[in-house]
Subunit: 504 residues, 4 copies
């Protein structure tokens, strides 16, 4: 079913819009940051989009080789190895990224048990000795202060652990034990520098209301340091398993946003925490790296909508993740494998990549916003917009947006960058080529040629204060557009009207 909607837009208006799409991005575990393909993907992301922070698991896991012990004089002593940590963080910094530090999981030598999470086996048990844990946290932060400078390190947010409200990530989803961990850890952080900001509880949407409320009560009652609240948010239901994959029903964007509102309200219900920053340290449509939705245009359109609204309640929201170098559920057999990344392996941008690229250009000064579009204006009077057409159900479903803009008399150019199932859909190309598990170099090249937005321009004339701009979105279309005044000035003797192929 096709839809046509008309909107009046007055560039003098000012509407609420907090655009923090590029504050933080998720990543596979820290050890993967040593990989070449990871480096190449992240470099591309940073050159073309440019996030400020990055957050991932596994900072203190054994494959980062930080925590060691040895015996001397009959005692077990700790020693710290920063070789890999420095490689990873040096690399981040060379790409303009700060860490959003997630403190976890447990080094084997410090662990109280052997329960692990993921294919890569992160230990999720409490420390067997909280003092040694605090020493470890302190040692790591002191090392960073020495290497990168105090002024730098105090600008990094620190978060304690990951999703302790799931038994898979924290043994027994043991709430009191987490509160103890949080207290010890946040105090260890503050001991290094009281200016470092620390937060939690990094919960996901399971029993989250009770966890959040209890956590805030605990912090408040015990005067535990807390600078911001963190949680995660995903938009899918329980999965149906098929071979290597998991398929799920997607919830509505409204349902997704409602969950955030609830958290917001809980925080604001505490006098001492009202208005405190809430960072969504992970979000995506599906929470499993085995759901093909992540590779689709639907995902891009859906995420665009979220990006336009999450700033209403959240200080930031970190898409989980930038790339498909990721091993939580094992190693993908194929380049498109339903993994979280903005990029598939081989540096293929998925449609959702462009949602971030587009929001990055928007700025914050919005003049129009609704469930289909957001439009901003910059200091030079250039209008920039993003619009989308979420279409989960099959069938043709064009959405045409007619904007009627109050503009000065003159000539304008409308620039459009279109990402939809026809024009920018590398997954389709790959499927059409027979889903090769290990594409040859030239197949990969072709796939990437179909992963770029279709860019077009057209001009229009405003005679009487009204400019009409029509954006036609096919199913799951995502469009970035710019509208700017044109002062045409032809070179001496240049006659566009005599030249074949240009607009008159």
């Amino acid at each position: 079913m096709d839809t046509r909607l008309n909107y009046k837009v007055d560039p003098m208006d000012r509407v609420e819009f907090h655009n923090n799409a590029c504050f933080c991005i998720g990543t596979g575990r820290m050890n993967l940051a040593l990989r070449h393909e990871y480096h190449e993907q992240l470099k591309k992301v940073q050159e073309e989009i440019g996030f400020s922070h990055i957050r991932g698991h596994g900072l203190l896991c054994d494959d980062m080789a930080v925590y060691h012990t040895y015996e001397e004089d009959g005692e077990e002593k700790a020693e710290y190895n920063f070789t890999y940590l420095d490689m990873v963080f040096d690399d981040y910094r060379s790409m303009g990224l700060k860490p959003f530090v997630e403190l976890g999981f447990m080094p084997e030598k410090l662990a109280s048990g052997d329960q692990t999470v993921f294919y890569w086996k992160g230990n999720v048990t409490p420390p067997k000795d909280y003092d040694k844990w605090a020493d470890l946290v302190t040692a790591v932060i002191e090392h960073w202060i020495n290497r990168y400078g105090r002024d730098e390190v105090v600008t990094w947010p620190f978060e304690v652990w990951n999703e302790p409200n799931l038994g898979g990530f924290w043994k027994g989803a043991d709430m009191p034990e987490y509160f103890k961990l949080y207290e010890v850890t946040s105090k260890a952080v503050k001991k290094c520098d009281s200016g470092i900001r620390v937060g939690g509880p990094a919960i996901c949407g399971v029993d989250d209301e009770r966890w959040l409320r209890s956590f805030l009560e605990y912090c408040s009652a015990n005067r535990v340091p807390l600078d911001f609240v963190t949680r995660h948010a995903y938009a899918t239901e329980a999965p149906q398993n098929e071979g290597h994959y998991q398929y799920q029903k997607l919830r509505t964007p409204e349902a997704f946003i409602a969950e955030l509102n609830t958290s917001r309200s809980i925080i604001d219900s505490f006098t001492e925490y009202a208005g405190m920053e809430m960072h969504i340290t992970e979000f995506n449509t599906s929470y499993t790296p085995l759901n093909p939705i992540h590779d689709t245009n639907l995902n891009a359109a859906y995420v665009a909508r979220l990006l336009s609204e999450m700033g209403d309640t959240c200080a930031s929201y970190s898409y989980w993740t930038f790339g498909d170098v990721f091993e939580e559920a094992g190693v993908s057999f194929t380049p498109f494998s339903g993994c979280f990344g903005l990029l598939a392996n081989g540096k293929i941008p998925k449609p959702t990549y462009w949602a971030f690229s587009f929001f990055q250009k928007l700025g914050e000064n919005a003049i129009f916003r609704n469930e289909h579009a957001v439009i901003t204006k910059d200091g030079k009077g250039i209008l920039r917009g993003v619009c989308w057409n979420i279409a989960e159900e099959e069938g043709p479903s064009y959405l045409t947006l007619d904007f009627s803009l109050e503009l000065e008399k003159g000539k304008y150019v409308l620039i459009q960058k279109m990402v939809d199932e026809d024009t920018c859909n590398p997954l389709k190309t790959w499927v059409n080529m027979g889903m090769p598990a290990n594409p040859a170099a030239e197949e990969l090249k072709l796939i990437k040629e179909t992963a770029l937005p279709q860019v077009s321009t057209k001009t229009f004339e405003v005679m009487d204060k009204e400019g009409k701009v029509e954006i036609k979105l096919s199913a799951n279309g995502l469009c970035y557009f710019e509208i700017k005044p044109v002062q045409a000035k032809a070179d001496r003797g240049y006659k566009p009207e005599w030249i074949r192929g240009v607009d008159r």
Copy 2:
């Protein structure tokens, strides 16, 4: 007016097709090869297309600083400076290019007069001393043999001077004087190594029949070395001047080809030269670097047709030129200035760039060829085609080609790369932006985003030995396509039919 044409194609057929589109490419004068923008443009061309040879003017002009004299013991002595020559040729070789050496123009110190050609003032008068000219030619070639090795240098074709049949390029268009120059020069070349191949007369289409016939008669009568014949070919009439620009009527492709046939016949009419290689050392639509046609999609479609047919009579045909670093008519005021290049300054590929990129992929094993298309088959059974829709006149004019292919039962993918006035037309973008003489970096980026072919794939099933493929070309559309069998194999549990946005 829209047209639909139906063709039966049998991949077992074999039709005549000599594809030498990438044998040689033209360039602005040698001194420009020292430029950074030139280097960057040529690097792009070589990485993405890959020509074998390059040919341009000005090898011996004073800005290459080769020929010098000084006085010693009361005599004038010559000395040679190879600094710039080596910079240029080393650079060519680093990019996989051999020179198609054009010997000319005249160093001032050797010139008999002061007539010059072009904004950059190449001296076009005969040598004042033919012995010293022969010494110069010999010295240069001996230097190359020392530097690059004899085995390499004997693979470079040598051509004597440029368009002597025009008074602008050769004082007085003096035919006997040219024959003398040719004789002295060709013998000087052969003196260095008899295996080096030398040719002429490098004429353009003015009084060309008489020149060609006389030249061959002269060579034959005087036993002058001649290994191949060279000429130029352009497709436009006399220009109308407007400011910095020149506008011209385009002749038909048939008329263009007919001129080559005439030259071919003249050569073949000499017993000793029948079948001798004829190299078109320059061709293009317009012969002036001030005609906006070079920047259009019309040019691309027109050139595609020429590339499909010139091999019928010519050993090679060198498009004039690879890039817009060019100063024959001065320095362009704007990035799109009607100059010859495949690339506009700023490394913007013009539509014609893709014509060469597409023919480069074709190979020579044709199974179908007519005035709209050529299709080849490679050793693995993959079909590759190029088709075009030349539309000089305004108005809608779709051309739809329906190919009915004899194919084995099975699934196939059709890959299309489309270059037309809507999808890949950087000139239009630039015009829509107001024709900025000096685009800002982000304007340039946008222009380049609209200079890429639109790539798409679709699959089809062959049940009963017949595959139907439809290619729809809009006005001046140029399309590359591939047809190849697909063995689809889904990863365990991967269900394309459950995934939004891919073909079923």
Copy 3:
């Protein structure tokens, strides 16, 4: 104690010298080839030295994620994942490297036990099902044939397992079980293509004579495929442990070579194997990645001597390893950690790096060779030499080599590239800077500035057929030199004798 030795060298002589220094190089386990630092180090090595093959452990270990099983219809079925394998091998091939394939260790799902080796836990138990193991080997090779072409894959040597004569690498050092593994595996390889060359037993120098003899007897008796023999060789005694490090006594080069001679004799004692290629698939001074000797100039001088002699008995000899991205004994705490690499982390070339760089330039046409030097001559009459001064004991010990060369009358230039404890000793720089565990960027830069050979030139004149060249080596000095005739030709007016600072 200083020494001065005189040698007469006649460039018309021809002495035995098989230079295969760059045939193969060792690497940390395959999974590490996914790392960015690894990629950067290997790229440098390949650009500046250029090995032909690369060999490392862990091809089939779980972190390469090749072998998987799942249940279907009540049975366990195997499935293969080539994602990482292709990343690694594609990367090797992009750098001009072929694999010297080591088949091992055991995927957990195929293993008969849980014994592992190394920090990174490679499973070293026999397959629980030899048919499934054979299927895995076949599947991998068939995949390579599909991806890289049969013609390519048949040029790769295949070796079965690693050091089965050590219980640590092969459960129980069980000889009959290894022979079974070898037989099954070599037959699986040959089943893919009988042209693929396969060998073993990949033993190190422990009980090696009995192992080699038994292995050859077994192959001979059972008509097991065998195209070449492989073994390892190291030059150190049992270690003394101190903290993270191991210190060892170095054996003499003569002792090292003697061990190879013994293996050679054993092979040659079998009629059917006499003269068969013996590949040293690992060698180095010390066999532990915790011995600081690897980072020293002593190591470079010692290895130079080995490179000059190993070709006498061995088809190739693969230095273990190209770089310090290596985790067999854990992750190094510091950039210089006594690990095997030619490069330390941070892309610092160690002195031994230059030994390979120098031998790579030598070619094989030797005119002089002894325990201190080897000199070759190329087709253009240029002499190239490498010489060294092994000095394990402390104290000054210059070695001066006086070469008296039969040369034609004329002017010559002597080029020297010197690597010794004073001029090219990055380890010393690092120690002088206080041994920083995690050097800052500028410290790293300085270390690298002291890791380059000191290059110098001087000229000499030969009047009467005798050229005298003196090379002075300080302790553990390693020197590359070239001697070539000079045809000096000054530019007009250039007077070197008037210019301050150049040789007269």
Copy 4:
């Protein structure tokens, strides 16, 4: 004759030292900035040294193609082409460089005569119409303001013409005519923005006292805008010509500096100009690009001395030039040709390159300075020094500097980077190779390997507040050194004293 000198250095001292070595660098004419070799050389210079400004001739010459005229409606009208200007300035800015704009020479269409300067023929006659000249200047600056922003352009210094006190650069060395040009031009500049700083008279050391005094009198009397004074300074006498080269006697550094003092005094003698900035917009040893001295170590040592003293009287001093892409005296026949550059063609750093690299690291906070050395201290207590040993006469002449430093008890490292005739002398290498006019790639590589400073470190212990540091300089040696405290901390078990080849 060898010399040994002893100095006491107290790091608490503070001595006068204005280090502005990297404020500005000279370049060949603007058109050469379009060259690839130029771009590569400048990129290297900027990455490794990093100048702030760049100044060269030929901004408005015809090969920059800025000024054009055409007839319309019976009048001659001007039109401006910024294509090349933008290419050059965009490139500068991409490398972090601002222009020190030199306004000149005269476009042919605006010139009153045809006198030219240099091989590349810059027109040096006054404008035939001063209004049109002013229009041109204004148009160019307005274009820059549009393109780069007003805030940026007001930070660029502007200088009017070049060396008008020489008849070769300004027809007739006509002083009143220059004052007119200066007045018109400076007012045109100020018209664009009164914040732009403009200066002159850009004279060299010929009749310079009279010129400078008259110029200041003129400006003062006529209230002509003047923000700073500019002049040039060279240190050589009249040349002796030999073939392509010119040889000259070098004046003493004292004589060179005295000339600057005189200019300074003249300026300061005007009440209204006392203390006004004096910029040396060109300096070097020799003023001819044909004097081999520029390629020597003597030049480096001499320039180092100048860099240590010029700041006493001058706001800045711009070495003429950064590279050897230069055509004032024609095109060099050889890579070392006595041209001005810090780099020879082929990106070979000459010894003087390192003088700038070393001063760049010094900072300004000097604790010691005399005719042989300057030493600074940074905020972290690290000492950095540069010292030199100018030795014009032949013969051994070591200079040993013994510094006795007041330092805290502890361990220190002394880092030295030595550039002298033995260790870092690419000219010598080239001469030894026979002075090849066109070196092959591998010859060039070797030359560059001998163009790097020899870097070494050693440690010393301070027991009783006194550290002794000895720097030994051979003839024309130039040395950079650093002294910093070392906190040695060995990894657990690492025993430097057991390791061969490191200091104990």
